[in-house]
Symmetry: C2
Subunit: 322 residues, 2 copies
Protein backbone atom coordinates (compact mmCIF):
# COMPACT_ATOMS: atom_id res chain seq x y z
CA UNK A 1 0.00 0.00 0.00
CA UNK A 2 1.34 3.42 -0.96
CA UNK A 3 0.49 6.56 0.94
CA UNK A 4 0.50 9.72 -1.17
CA UNK A 5 0.61 13.05 0.61
CA UNK A 6 -1.42 15.73 -1.13
CA UNK A 7 -1.76 19.44 -0.38
CA UNK A 8 -5.08 21.19 0.31
CA UNK A 9 -5.61 22.33 -3.30
CA UNK A 10 -4.95 18.83 -4.61
CA UNK A 11 -7.27 17.32 -1.98
CA UNK A 12 -9.89 19.84 -2.98
CA UNK A 13 -9.44 19.01 -6.66
CA UNK A 14 -9.57 15.31 -5.95
CA UNK A 15 -12.80 15.68 -4.02
CA UNK A 16 -14.56 17.85 -6.57
CA UNK A 17 -13.33 17.01 -10.04
CA UNK A 18 -14.69 13.46 -10.14
CA UNK A 19 -17.69 13.62 -12.46
CA UNK A 20 -21.10 12.50 -11.30
CA UNK A 21 -23.10 10.62 -13.91
CA UNK A 22 -26.03 13.08 -13.78
CA UNK A 23 -27.02 14.81 -17.02
CA UNK A 24 -27.71 18.56 -17.02
CA UNK A 25 -29.65 20.07 -19.91
CA UNK A 26 -29.69 23.78 -20.70
CA UNK A 27 -32.49 25.28 -22.78
CA UNK A 28 -32.15 28.84 -24.07
CA UNK A 29 -30.55 31.06 -26.68
CA UNK A 30 -27.43 30.56 -28.73
CA UNK A 31 -26.85 33.98 -30.25
CA UNK A 32 -24.63 36.29 -32.22
CA UNK A 33 -23.74 39.31 -30.09
CA UNK A 34 -22.47 42.69 -31.10
CA UNK A 35 -20.99 44.14 -27.95
CA UNK A 36 -19.71 47.71 -27.67
CA UNK A 37 -17.67 48.82 -24.65
CA UNK A 38 -15.87 52.17 -24.26
CA UNK A 39 -12.67 50.31 -25.21
CA UNK A 40 -13.63 48.00 -28.07
CA UNK A 41 -16.48 46.77 -30.25
CA UNK A 42 -16.86 43.10 -31.15
CA UNK A 43 -19.27 42.24 -33.98
CA UNK A 44 -21.41 39.09 -34.20
CA UNK A 45 -19.40 37.04 -31.72
CA UNK A 46 -20.74 33.87 -30.12
CA UNK A 47 -23.18 34.67 -27.30
CA UNK A 48 -26.54 33.68 -25.83
CA UNK A 49 -27.66 32.64 -22.37
CA UNK A 50 -27.57 28.89 -23.11
CA UNK A 51 -24.10 29.16 -24.65
CA UNK A 52 -22.57 30.71 -21.51
CA UNK A 53 -24.54 28.47 -19.13
CA UNK A 54 -23.73 25.22 -20.93
CA UNK A 55 -20.01 25.94 -21.41
CA UNK A 56 -19.80 26.92 -17.75
CA UNK A 57 -21.74 23.85 -16.55
CA UNK A 58 -19.60 21.55 -18.70
CA UNK A 59 -16.63 22.22 -16.37
CA UNK A 60 -18.56 20.34 -13.68
CA UNK A 61 -21.02 17.91 -15.21
CA UNK A 62 -22.20 16.09 -18.33
CA UNK A 63 -24.07 18.87 -20.13
CA UNK A 64 -26.34 19.07 -23.14
CA UNK A 65 -27.95 22.06 -24.83
CA UNK A 66 -31.27 22.71 -26.58
CA UNK A 67 -31.40 25.78 -28.82
CA UNK A 68 -32.05 27.00 -32.34
CA UNK A 69 -29.77 28.83 -34.74
CA UNK A 70 -29.91 30.01 -38.34
CA UNK A 71 -27.63 29.16 -41.22
CA UNK A 72 -25.64 32.35 -40.56
CA UNK A 73 -24.20 30.78 -37.38
CA UNK A 74 -20.56 29.94 -38.17
CA UNK A 75 -19.75 26.27 -37.74
CA UNK A 76 -16.66 27.11 -35.69
CA UNK A 77 -18.90 28.73 -33.04
CA UNK A 78 -20.87 25.53 -32.60
CA UNK A 79 -17.58 23.65 -32.66
CA UNK A 80 -16.34 25.84 -29.79
CA UNK A 81 -19.31 24.83 -27.61
CA UNK A 82 -18.79 21.19 -28.53
CA UNK A 83 -15.05 21.42 -27.83
CA UNK A 84 -15.84 21.90 -24.13
CA UNK A 85 -17.67 18.58 -24.08
CA UNK A 86 -21.20 19.98 -24.37
CA UNK A 87 -23.57 17.65 -26.24
CA UNK A 88 -24.83 19.95 -29.02
CA UNK A 89 -27.13 17.65 -30.91
CA UNK A 90 -30.08 19.54 -29.37
CA UNK A 91 -29.09 22.65 -31.37
CA UNK A 92 -31.49 22.85 -34.32
CA UNK A 93 -30.24 24.62 -37.44
CA UNK A 94 -32.94 26.34 -39.52
CA UNK A 95 -31.83 26.60 -43.17
CA UNK A 96 -32.06 30.18 -44.42
CA UNK A 97 -32.98 31.23 -40.87
CA UNK A 98 -31.32 34.13 -39.06
CA UNK A 99 -29.66 33.50 -35.70
CA UNK A 100 -30.84 35.61 -32.76
CA UNK A 101 -28.71 38.78 -32.82
CA UNK A 102 -28.28 41.12 -29.86
CA UNK A 103 -26.50 44.46 -30.26
CA UNK A 104 -25.75 46.46 -27.11
CA UNK A 105 -23.50 49.18 -25.70
CA UNK A 106 -21.99 49.34 -22.21
CA UNK A 107 -21.50 52.72 -20.54
CA UNK A 108 -18.19 54.11 -19.24
CA UNK A 109 -17.98 51.92 -16.12
CA UNK A 110 -19.50 48.80 -17.74
CA UNK A 111 -22.35 48.81 -15.22
CA UNK A 112 -25.21 49.80 -17.52
CA UNK A 113 -26.06 48.38 -20.90
CA UNK A 114 -28.20 49.95 -23.63
CA UNK A 115 -29.87 47.70 -26.19
CA UNK A 116 -29.29 48.93 -29.73
CA UNK A 117 -31.02 46.15 -31.60
CA UNK A 118 -32.71 42.81 -30.82
CA UNK A 119 -33.30 40.60 -33.85
CA UNK A 120 -35.17 37.51 -32.63
CA UNK A 121 -34.79 35.63 -35.92
CA UNK A 122 -35.27 31.87 -35.60
CA UNK A 123 -36.12 31.91 -31.88
CA UNK A 124 -39.49 33.49 -32.64
CA UNK A 125 -42.10 30.74 -32.51
CA UNK A 126 -39.47 28.01 -32.08
CA UNK A 127 -41.03 24.71 -31.11
CA UNK A 128 -38.21 22.94 -29.29
CA UNK A 129 -37.50 19.31 -30.09
CA UNK A 130 -35.59 17.33 -27.52
CA UNK A 131 -33.29 14.44 -28.40
CA UNK A 132 -34.68 11.34 -26.70
CA UNK A 133 -31.76 10.86 -24.33
CA UNK A 134 -32.14 14.41 -22.97
CA UNK A 135 -35.62 13.60 -21.62
CA UNK A 136 -34.07 11.69 -18.75
CA UNK A 137 -31.98 14.71 -17.60
CA UNK A 138 -31.61 14.97 -13.84
CA UNK A 139 -30.98 18.71 -13.95
CA UNK A 140 -32.66 21.25 -16.18
CA UNK A 141 -31.78 24.90 -16.58
CA UNK A 142 -34.26 27.13 -18.38
CA UNK A 143 -32.10 30.10 -19.33
CA UNK A 144 -34.14 33.22 -19.97
CA UNK A 145 -36.69 32.55 -22.67
CA UNK A 146 -40.43 32.79 -23.42
CA UNK A 147 -42.08 31.44 -20.22
CA UNK A 148 -44.78 29.68 -22.28
CA UNK A 149 -42.08 27.89 -24.31
CA UNK A 150 -40.38 26.94 -21.04
CA UNK A 151 -43.60 25.54 -19.54
CA UNK A 152 -44.16 23.59 -22.77
CA UNK A 153 -40.68 22.10 -22.83
CA UNK A 154 -40.97 21.00 -19.18
CA UNK A 155 -43.61 18.47 -20.21
CA UNK A 156 -41.14 16.81 -22.58
CA UNK A 157 -38.84 15.88 -19.70
CA UNK A 158 -39.19 12.82 -17.56
CA UNK A 159 -39.35 14.59 -14.14
CA UNK A 160 -35.90 16.11 -13.61
CA UNK A 161 -34.57 16.06 -10.04
CA UNK A 162 -33.99 19.82 -10.11
CA UNK A 163 -35.35 22.54 -12.41
CA UNK A 164 -33.98 26.09 -12.28
CA UNK A 165 -35.03 29.07 -14.39
CA UNK A 166 -33.94 32.64 -15.09
CA UNK A 167 -35.97 35.42 -16.66
CA UNK A 168 -35.44 38.97 -17.95
CA UNK A 169 -37.22 42.30 -18.13
CA UNK A 170 -38.50 41.56 -21.65
CA UNK A 171 -40.58 38.55 -20.51
CA UNK A 172 -41.68 40.14 -17.23
CA UNK A 173 -43.11 43.09 -19.16
CA UNK A 174 -44.61 40.90 -21.88
CA UNK A 175 -46.05 38.02 -19.84
CA UNK A 176 -45.65 38.47 -16.08
CA UNK A 177 -48.30 35.85 -15.25
CA UNK A 178 -46.50 33.37 -17.51
CA UNK A 179 -43.26 34.02 -15.60
CA UNK A 180 -45.04 33.46 -12.26
CA UNK A 181 -46.61 30.22 -13.59
CA UNK A 182 -43.23 29.03 -14.86
CA UNK A 183 -41.60 29.75 -11.48
CA UNK A 184 -44.31 27.67 -9.79
CA UNK A 185 -43.15 24.68 -11.85
CA UNK A 186 -39.45 25.01 -10.97
CA UNK A 187 -37.33 24.30 -7.88
CA UNK A 188 -35.21 27.42 -8.04
CA UNK A 189 -34.91 30.82 -9.66
CA UNK A 190 -31.74 32.69 -10.60
CA UNK A 191 -32.55 36.33 -11.33
CA UNK A 192 -30.96 39.82 -11.43
CA UNK A 193 -31.76 42.24 -8.59
CA UNK A 194 -33.54 44.78 -10.79
CA UNK A 195 -35.52 42.10 -12.56
CA UNK A 196 -36.53 40.59 -9.21
CA UNK A 197 -37.79 44.03 -8.14
CA UNK A 198 -39.72 44.46 -11.39
CA UNK A 199 -41.22 40.96 -11.23
CA UNK A 200 -42.18 41.14 -7.56
CA UNK A 201 -43.29 44.81 -7.58
CA UNK A 202 -41.23 45.22 -4.44
CA UNK A 203 -37.98 47.12 -3.70
CA UNK A 204 -36.70 45.03 -0.78
CA UNK A 205 -34.80 41.97 -2.05
CA UNK A 206 -35.63 39.80 0.97
CA UNK A 207 -39.32 40.42 0.35
CA UNK A 208 -38.83 39.74 -3.38
CA UNK A 209 -37.33 36.36 -2.50
CA UNK A 210 -40.21 35.58 -0.10
CA UNK A 211 -42.66 36.30 -2.91
CA UNK A 212 -40.80 34.06 -5.37
CA UNK A 213 -40.78 31.25 -2.79
CA UNK A 214 -44.52 31.78 -2.18
CA UNK A 215 -45.12 31.04 -5.89
CA UNK A 216 -43.77 27.52 -5.38
CA UNK A 217 -40.01 27.74 -5.90
CA UNK A 218 -37.79 26.25 -3.18
CA UNK A 219 -34.99 28.78 -3.49
CA UNK A 220 -34.15 32.07 -5.18
CA UNK A 221 -30.74 33.45 -6.04
CA UNK A 222 -30.66 37.18 -6.59
CA UNK A 223 -27.65 38.23 -8.64
CA UNK A 224 -26.19 41.68 -7.99
CA UNK A 225 -23.53 41.92 -10.72
CA UNK A 226 -20.19 43.14 -9.36
CA UNK A 227 -21.68 42.99 -5.83
CA UNK A 228 -22.13 39.21 -5.86
CA UNK A 229 -25.31 37.26 -5.14
CA UNK A 230 -27.68 36.32 -2.32
CA UNK A 231 -29.17 32.86 -1.94
CA UNK A 232 -32.56 32.66 -0.20
CA UNK A 233 -34.02 29.28 0.76
CA UNK A 234 -36.91 27.98 2.88
CA UNK A 235 -37.10 28.68 6.63
CA UNK A 236 -35.42 32.05 6.21
CA UNK A 237 -32.02 30.59 5.26
CA UNK A 238 -29.87 33.26 3.60
CA UNK A 239 -26.36 33.31 2.13
CA UNK A 240 -24.90 36.62 0.88
CA UNK A 241 -21.72 36.17 -1.18
CA UNK A 242 -19.39 38.85 -2.51
CA UNK A 243 -18.32 38.60 -6.12
CA UNK A 244 -14.79 37.32 -6.77
CA UNK A 245 -12.70 40.47 -6.87
CA UNK A 246 -11.22 41.44 -10.25
CA UNK A 247 -9.09 44.48 -10.99
CA UNK A 248 -10.43 44.76 -14.52
CA UNK A 249 -13.57 43.68 -16.33
CA UNK A 250 -13.51 43.43 -20.12
CA UNK A 251 -17.10 42.46 -21.02
CA UNK A 252 -19.85 41.76 -18.43
CA UNK A 253 -21.97 39.87 -21.00
CA UNK A 254 -22.89 36.38 -19.85
CA UNK A 255 -21.71 36.70 -16.25
CA UNK A 256 -25.14 35.75 -14.89
CA UNK A 257 -25.56 32.81 -17.27
CA UNK A 258 -22.07 31.56 -16.45
CA UNK A 259 -23.00 31.90 -12.77
CA UNK A 260 -26.09 29.74 -13.32
CA UNK A 261 -24.05 27.13 -15.21
CA UNK A 262 -21.47 26.89 -12.43
CA UNK A 263 -24.16 26.79 -9.75
CA UNK A 264 -26.14 23.99 -11.40
CA UNK A 265 -23.02 22.18 -12.57
CA UNK A 266 -21.76 21.87 -9.00
CA UNK A 267 -25.13 20.60 -7.76
CA UNK A 268 -25.20 18.08 -10.62
CA UNK A 269 -21.70 16.74 -9.97
CA UNK A 270 -22.29 16.37 -6.23
CA UNK A 271 -25.83 15.03 -6.59
CA UNK A 272 -26.84 17.07 -3.55
CA UNK A 273 -28.98 20.16 -3.06
CA UNK A 274 -28.85 20.76 0.70
CA UNK A 275 -28.16 24.32 1.85
CA UNK A 276 -24.42 23.75 2.50
CA UNK A 277 -23.94 22.40 -1.05
CA UNK A 278 -25.99 25.26 -2.49
CA UNK A 279 -23.67 27.72 -0.72
CA UNK A 280 -20.64 26.07 -2.35
CA UNK A 281 -22.52 26.14 -5.66
CA UNK A 282 -23.10 29.91 -5.31
CA UNK A 283 -19.33 30.36 -4.92
CA UNK A 284 -18.68 28.20 -8.00
CA UNK A 285 -21.25 30.39 -9.76
CA UNK A 286 -19.32 33.51 -8.76
CA UNK A 287 -16.08 31.90 -9.90
CA UNK A 288 -17.50 31.09 -13.35
CA UNK A 289 -19.00 34.60 -13.66
CA UNK A 290 -15.59 36.06 -12.83
CA UNK A 291 -13.91 34.10 -15.64
CA UNK A 292 -16.62 35.07 -18.14
CA UNK A 293 -16.06 38.82 -17.74
CA UNK A 294 -12.30 38.63 -18.29
CA UNK A 295 -12.67 38.66 -22.07
CA UNK A 296 -15.30 39.31 -24.74
CA UNK A 297 -18.06 36.72 -25.11
CA UNK A 298 -17.15 33.16 -24.13
CA UNK A 299 -13.46 33.53 -25.07
CA UNK A 300 -12.12 33.24 -21.55
CA UNK A 301 -14.43 30.34 -20.68
CA UNK A 302 -13.08 28.44 -23.68
CA UNK A 303 -9.49 28.69 -22.42
CA UNK A 304 -9.99 27.40 -18.87
CA UNK A 305 -10.13 23.90 -17.41
CA UNK A 306 -11.16 22.21 -14.16
CA UNK A 307 -7.91 23.08 -12.44
CA UNK A 308 -8.38 26.80 -13.10
CA UNK A 309 -11.89 26.62 -11.67
CA UNK A 310 -10.83 24.81 -8.49
CA UNK A 311 -7.82 27.06 -8.07
CA UNK A 312 -9.99 30.16 -8.22
CA UNK A 313 -12.46 28.59 -5.78
CA UNK A 314 -9.63 28.20 -3.28
CA UNK A 315 -8.45 31.75 -4.01
CA UNK A 316 -11.98 33.01 -3.41
CA UNK A 317 -12.11 31.22 -0.08
CA UNK A 318 -8.81 32.80 0.98
CA UNK A 319 -9.94 36.20 -0.25
CA UNK A 320 -13.14 36.41 1.79
CA UNK A 321 -12.05 34.52 4.90
CA UNK A 322 -11.29 36.49 8.08
CA UNK B 1 -6.13 25.70 39.58
CA UNK B 2 -9.65 25.74 38.21
CA UNK B 3 -10.43 24.92 34.61
CA UNK B 4 -13.49 26.64 33.20
CA UNK B 5 -14.93 25.35 29.97
CA UNK B 6 -16.33 28.06 27.73
CA UNK B 7 -18.17 27.89 24.42
CA UNK B 8 -16.96 29.56 21.22
CA UNK B 9 -19.08 32.71 21.67
CA UNK B 10 -17.85 33.13 25.25
CA UNK B 11 -14.26 32.52 24.19
CA UNK B 12 -14.73 35.06 21.44
CA UNK B 13 -16.21 37.60 23.88
CA UNK B 14 -13.45 36.98 26.36
CA UNK B 15 -10.82 37.55 23.72
CA UNK B 16 -12.32 40.73 22.32
CA UNK B 17 -14.21 42.62 25.01
CA UNK B 18 -11.19 43.40 27.18
CA UNK B 19 -10.51 47.10 26.62
CA UNK B 20 -7.17 48.28 25.40
CA UNK B 21 -5.95 51.49 27.06
CA UNK B 22 -5.66 53.34 23.71
CA UNK B 23 -7.67 56.54 23.26
CA UNK B 24 -9.62 57.11 20.05
CA UNK B 25 -10.72 60.64 19.19
CA UNK B 26 -13.42 61.44 16.64
CA UNK B 27 -13.63 64.88 15.04
CA UNK B 28 -16.69 65.81 13.02
CA UNK B 29 -20.29 66.92 13.14
CA UNK B 30 -22.88 66.51 15.89
CA UNK B 31 -26.10 67.46 14.16
CA UNK B 32 -29.86 67.67 14.24
CA UNK B 33 -31.32 65.58 11.42
CA UNK B 34 -34.72 65.71 9.82
CA UNK B 35 -35.07 62.38 8.06
CA UNK B 36 -37.98 61.51 5.79
CA UNK B 37 -38.53 57.94 4.61
CA UNK B 38 -41.57 56.63 2.70
CA UNK B 39 -42.81 55.27 6.03
CA UNK B 40 -42.11 57.99 8.59
CA UNK B 41 -40.59 61.42 9.14
CA UNK B 42 -38.46 62.19 12.18
CA UNK B 43 -37.75 65.86 12.92
CA UNK B 44 -34.56 67.27 14.44
CA UNK B 45 -33.32 64.01 15.91
CA UNK B 46 -29.74 63.48 17.05
CA UNK B 47 -27.42 62.88 14.09
CA UNK B 48 -24.04 63.85 12.65
CA UNK B 49 -21.05 61.82 11.47
CA UNK B 50 -19.09 62.19 14.71
CA UNK B 51 -22.12 61.19 16.79
CA UNK B 52 -22.56 57.87 14.97
CA UNK B 53 -18.81 57.17 14.77
CA UNK B 54 -18.11 57.93 18.45
CA UNK B 55 -21.08 55.96 19.83
CA UNK B 56 -20.10 53.04 17.61
CA UNK B 57 -16.41 53.20 18.57
CA UNK B 58 -17.28 53.41 22.27
CA UNK B 59 -18.44 49.77 22.15
CA UNK B 60 -14.81 48.82 21.55
CA UNK B 61 -12.47 51.45 22.93
CA UNK B 62 -12.06 54.55 25.10
CA UNK B 63 -13.52 57.23 22.82
CA UNK B 64 -13.65 61.02 22.90
CA UNK B 65 -15.33 63.45 20.54
CA UNK B 66 -14.52 66.94 19.23
CA UNK B 67 -17.44 68.88 17.75
CA UNK B 68 -19.46 72.08 17.99
CA UNK B 69 -23.17 72.56 18.67
CA UNK B 70 -25.52 75.49 19.22
CA UNK B 71 -27.74 76.22 22.18
CA UNK B 72 -30.67 74.58 20.37
CA UNK B 73 -29.07 71.16 20.91
CA UNK B 74 -31.17 69.43 23.58
CA UNK B 75 -29.12 68.43 26.63
CA UNK B 76 -30.59 64.93 26.56
CA UNK B 77 -29.00 64.36 23.13
CA UNK B 78 -25.54 65.14 24.50
CA UNK B 79 -26.43 63.01 27.52
CA UNK B 80 -27.21 60.11 25.20
CA UNK B 81 -23.72 60.25 23.64
CA UNK B 82 -22.17 60.48 27.10
CA UNK B 83 -24.30 57.59 28.38
CA UNK B 84 -22.38 55.25 26.06
CA UNK B 85 -19.13 56.22 27.74
CA UNK B 86 -17.97 58.74 25.13
CA UNK B 87 -15.92 61.60 26.61
CA UNK B 88 -17.91 64.63 25.43
CA UNK B 89 -15.93 67.46 26.93
CA UNK B 90 -14.58 68.21 23.44
CA UNK B 91 -18.09 69.27 22.33
CA UNK B 92 -18.12 73.07 22.31
CA UNK B 93 -21.49 74.76 22.86
CA UNK B 94 -21.88 78.15 21.16
CA UNK B 95 -24.46 80.27 23.01
CA UNK B 96 -27.17 81.55 20.66
CA UNK B 97 -25.60 79.43 17.89
CA UNK B 98 -27.61 77.10 15.68
CA UNK B 99 -26.64 73.43 15.50
CA UNK B 100 -25.88 72.00 12.06
CA UNK B 101 -29.21 70.84 10.65
CA UNK B 102 -29.57 68.36 7.79
CA UNK B 103 -32.97 67.69 6.20
CA UNK B 104 -33.22 64.85 3.68
CA UNK B 105 -35.66 62.45 2.03
CA UNK B 106 -35.06 58.81 1.12
CA UNK B 107 -36.72 57.33 -1.96
CA UNK B 108 -39.02 54.29 -2.03
CA UNK B 109 -36.30 51.65 -1.57
CA UNK B 110 -34.14 53.74 0.81
CA UNK B 111 -31.22 53.59 -1.61
CA UNK B 112 -31.17 57.22 -2.74
CA UNK B 113 -31.32 60.31 -0.60
CA UNK B 114 -32.28 63.86 -1.66
CA UNK B 115 -31.04 66.80 0.39
CA UNK B 116 -33.82 69.23 1.22
CA UNK B 117 -31.87 71.66 3.35
CA UNK B 118 -28.35 71.97 4.79
CA UNK B 119 -28.03 74.61 7.53
CA UNK B 120 -24.35 74.71 8.53
CA UNK B 121 -24.93 76.96 11.58
CA UNK B 122 -22.11 76.83 14.10
CA UNK B 123 -19.86 74.51 12.10
CA UNK B 124 -19.13 77.27 9.59
CA UNK B 125 -15.73 78.72 10.44
CA UNK B 126 -15.43 76.61 13.60
CA UNK B 127 -11.90 76.70 15.02
CA UNK B 128 -11.68 73.43 16.93
CA UNK B 129 -10.18 73.47 20.42
CA UNK B 130 -8.91 70.18 21.76
CA UNK B 131 -8.92 69.27 25.44
CA UNK B 132 -5.31 68.70 26.47
CA UNK B 133 -5.68 65.00 27.21
CA UNK B 134 -7.07 64.36 23.70
CA UNK B 135 -3.78 65.50 22.13
CA UNK B 136 -2.19 62.21 23.10
CA UNK B 137 -4.82 60.12 21.26
CA UNK B 138 -3.44 56.99 19.64
CA UNK B 139 -6.25 56.81 17.07
CA UNK B 140 -7.86 59.71 15.28
CA UNK B 141 -10.90 59.62 13.04
CA UNK B 142 -11.63 62.68 10.91
CA UNK B 143 -15.28 62.17 10.04
CA UNK B 144 -16.30 64.08 6.94
CA UNK B 145 -15.56 67.75 7.40
CA UNK B 146 -13.78 70.70 5.78
CA UNK B 147 -10.41 69.21 4.69
CA UNK B 148 -8.61 72.44 5.64
CA UNK B 149 -10.07 72.23 9.16
CA UNK B 150 -8.99 68.58 9.31
CA UNK B 151 -5.42 69.41 8.24
CA UNK B 152 -5.35 72.17 10.87
CA UNK B 153 -6.60 69.96 13.68
CA UNK B 154 -4.02 67.28 12.84
CA UNK B 155 -1.26 69.66 14.01
CA UNK B 156 -2.84 69.84 17.45
CA UNK B 157 -2.32 66.11 18.03
CA UNK B 158 0.83 64.57 19.31
CA UNK B 159 1.43 62.10 16.44
CA UNK B 160 -1.42 59.56 16.63
CA UNK B 161 -0.52 55.98 15.80
CA UNK B 162 -3.28 55.81 13.18
CA UNK B 163 -5.24 58.55 11.42
CA UNK B 164 -8.26 57.74 9.26
CA UNK B 165 -10.52 60.16 7.36
CA UNK B 166 -13.75 60.15 5.40
CA UNK B 167 -15.01 62.76 2.96
CA UNK B 168 -18.18 63.54 1.02
CA UNK B 169 -19.27 64.95 -2.33
CA UNK B 170 -19.67 68.46 -0.87
CA UNK B 171 -15.96 68.77 0.00
CA UNK B 172 -14.76 66.98 -3.14
CA UNK B 173 -16.64 69.50 -5.26
CA UNK B 174 -15.61 72.45 -3.11
CA UNK B 175 -11.94 71.68 -2.44
CA UNK B 176 -10.70 68.54 -4.20
CA UNK B 177 -7.04 69.48 -3.78
CA UNK B 178 -7.65 69.99 -0.06
CA UNK B 179 -9.14 66.49 0.16
CA UNK B 180 -6.11 65.02 -1.66
CA UNK B 181 -3.72 66.91 0.68
CA UNK B 182 -5.65 65.70 3.73
CA UNK B 183 -5.51 62.09 2.50
CA UNK B 184 -1.73 62.42 2.13
CA UNK B 185 -1.52 63.15 5.86
CA UNK B 186 -3.61 60.14 6.96
CA UNK B 187 -3.00 56.38 7.20
CA UNK B 188 -6.36 55.29 5.87
CA UNK B 189 -9.46 56.49 4.04
CA UNK B 190 -13.04 55.29 4.48
CA UNK B 191 -15.17 56.51 1.59
CA UNK B 192 -18.40 55.72 -0.31
CA UNK B 193 -18.10 54.13 -3.76
CA UNK B 194 -19.64 57.05 -5.63
CA UNK B 195 -17.56 59.57 -3.75
CA UNK B 196 -14.42 57.55 -4.45
CA UNK B 197 -15.31 57.66 -8.17
CA UNK B 198 -15.93 61.42 -8.04
CA UNK B 199 -12.73 62.09 -6.10
CA UNK B 200 -10.51 59.87 -8.25
CA UNK B 201 -12.17 60.73 -11.60
CA UNK B 202 -12.21 57.01 -12.29
CA UNK B 203 -15.08 54.47 -12.53
CA UNK B 204 -13.16 51.31 -11.56
CA UNK B 205 -12.99 50.98 -7.76
CA UNK B 206 -9.69 49.07 -7.76
CA UNK B 207 -8.10 51.91 -9.71
CA UNK B 208 -9.73 54.46 -7.35
CA UNK B 209 -8.09 52.69 -4.42
CA UNK B 210 -4.71 52.64 -6.18
CA UNK B 211 -4.97 56.39 -6.70
CA UNK B 212 -5.86 57.02 -3.06
CA UNK B 213 -2.88 54.91 -1.96
CA UNK B 214 -0.63 56.81 -4.39
CA UNK B 215 -1.55 60.03 -2.52
CA UNK B 216 0.09 58.67 0.61
CA UNK B 217 -2.59 56.68 2.44
CA UNK B 218 -1.74 53.11 3.48
CA UNK B 219 -5.21 51.68 2.96
CA UNK B 220 -8.59 52.60 1.54
CA UNK B 221 -11.97 51.16 2.43
CA UNK B 222 -14.64 51.68 -0.19
CA UNK B 223 -18.12 51.41 1.28
CA UNK B 224 -20.90 50.13 -0.98
CA UNK B 225 -23.96 50.56 1.27
CA UNK B 226 -26.15 47.45 1.32
CA UNK B 227 -23.48 45.65 -0.78
CA UNK B 228 -20.82 45.80 1.94
CA UNK B 229 -17.30 47.18 1.66
CA UNK B 230 -13.92 46.46 0.06
CA UNK B 231 -10.64 46.97 1.90
CA UNK B 232 -7.60 47.75 -0.29
CA UNK B 233 -4.12 47.80 1.24
CA UNK B 234 -0.53 47.94 -0.01
CA UNK B 235 0.92 45.19 -2.24
CA UNK B 236 -2.45 44.58 -3.88
CA UNK B 237 -4.06 43.10 -0.75
CA UNK B 238 -7.85 43.13 -1.11
CA UNK B 239 -10.73 42.05 1.14
CA UNK B 240 -14.31 42.24 -0.20
CA UNK B 241 -16.95 41.81 2.52
CA UNK B 242 -20.70 41.46 2.10
CA UNK B 243 -22.91 43.58 4.32
CA UNK B 244 -24.58 41.80 7.25
CA UNK B 245 -27.90 40.68 5.84
CA UNK B 246 -31.03 42.40 7.20
CA UNK B 247 -34.61 41.74 6.16
CA UNK B 248 -35.64 45.33 6.81
CA UNK B 249 -33.87 48.68 6.94
CA UNK B 250 -35.54 51.57 8.79
CA UNK B 251 -33.13 54.49 8.23
CA UNK B 252 -29.79 54.20 6.38
CA UNK B 253 -28.49 57.45 7.94
CA UNK B 254 -25.17 57.02 9.73
CA UNK B 255 -24.41 53.49 8.50
CA UNK B 256 -21.06 54.57 7.03
CA UNK B 257 -20.05 56.55 10.13
CA UNK B 258 -21.03 53.66 12.40
CA UNK B 259 -18.94 51.42 10.13
CA UNK B 260 -15.92 53.70 10.59
CA UNK B 261 -16.43 53.77 14.37
CA UNK B 262 -16.56 49.99 14.59
CA UNK B 263 -13.59 49.61 12.27
CA UNK B 264 -11.35 52.02 14.19
CA UNK B 265 -12.70 50.88 17.56
CA UNK B 266 -11.60 47.31 16.87
CA UNK B 267 -8.13 48.42 15.74
CA UNK B 268 -7.85 50.57 18.89
CA UNK B 269 -8.85 47.80 21.27
CA UNK B 270 -6.49 45.27 19.71
CA UNK B 271 -3.64 47.74 19.26
CA UNK B 272 -2.88 46.10 15.91
CA UNK B 273 -3.27 47.22 12.31
CA UNK B 274 -1.96 44.25 10.30
CA UNK B 275 -4.09 43.06 7.38
CA UNK B 276 -5.72 40.18 9.30
CA UNK B 277 -6.84 42.57 12.07
CA UNK B 278 -8.07 45.09 9.52
CA UNK B 279 -10.21 42.34 7.95
CA UNK B 280 -11.81 41.62 11.33
CA UNK B 281 -12.25 45.37 11.79
CA UNK B 282 -14.12 45.62 8.47
CA UNK B 283 -16.53 42.97 9.72
CA UNK B 284 -17.02 44.85 13.00
CA UNK B 285 -17.65 47.92 10.86
CA UNK B 286 -20.34 46.05 8.91
CA UNK B 287 -21.85 44.82 12.18
CA UNK B 288 -22.09 48.36 13.59
CA UNK B 289 -23.54 49.68 10.32
CA UNK B 290 -26.17 46.93 10.43
CA UNK B 291 -27.28 47.97 13.91
CA UNK B 292 -27.40 51.66 12.96
CA UNK B 293 -29.92 51.15 10.15
CA UNK B 294 -32.38 49.18 12.29
CA UNK B 295 -33.97 52.35 13.71
CA UNK B 296 -34.00 56.10 13.10
CA UNK B 297 -30.84 58.03 13.97
CA UNK B 298 -28.70 56.54 16.74
CA UNK B 299 -31.64 54.95 18.58
CA UNK B 300 -30.62 51.36 17.93
CA UNK B 301 -26.95 52.02 18.71
CA UNK B 302 -28.00 53.42 22.10
CA UNK B 303 -29.76 50.19 23.08
CA UNK B 304 -26.97 47.71 22.31
CA UNK B 305 -23.99 46.53 24.33
CA UNK B 306 -20.75 44.59 23.80
CA UNK B 307 -22.51 41.24 23.91
CA UNK B 308 -24.87 42.21 21.10
CA UNK B 309 -21.93 43.31 18.97
CA UNK B 310 -19.95 40.11 19.53
CA UNK B 311 -23.03 37.96 19.02
CA UNK B 312 -23.72 39.58 15.66
CA UNK B 313 -20.06 39.19 14.68
CA UNK B 314 -20.38 35.45 15.26
CA UNK B 315 -23.69 35.42 13.37
CA UNK B 316 -22.03 37.23 10.49
CA UNK B 317 -19.25 34.67 10.39
CA UNK B 318 -21.79 31.83 10.27
CA UNK B 319 -23.82 33.65 7.64
CA UNK B 320 -21.01 34.11 5.12
CA UNK B 321 -19.03 30.93 5.75
CA UNK B 322 -19.25 28.07 3.26
Amino acid sequence: MTTVLIGPLQAHLFENVCFHAALLTVFGTVALDTTRTPFRTETRILGGAATFASISASMFSKTSIVAVVGSDMPQEHLGAIKSKGVDTKGIINIPDGKTFHYDSTFDYDLSNRTTNKTELGVIEGFDPVIPEEYAKSDYLYLANNDPQQNIKILKRFDGPKLIVCDTIEFWINKDRQGVVDMIGRTDGVVINDNEARLLCKEANLARCAKKILSWGSKFAIIKKGEHGAILFAADGLVFPASAYFLDEIVDPTGAGDSFAGGFLGHLARTGRSDFATMKEAVIYGNVMGSFAVEDFGVRRLLTIGHEDVEERYVKYRNLVQF
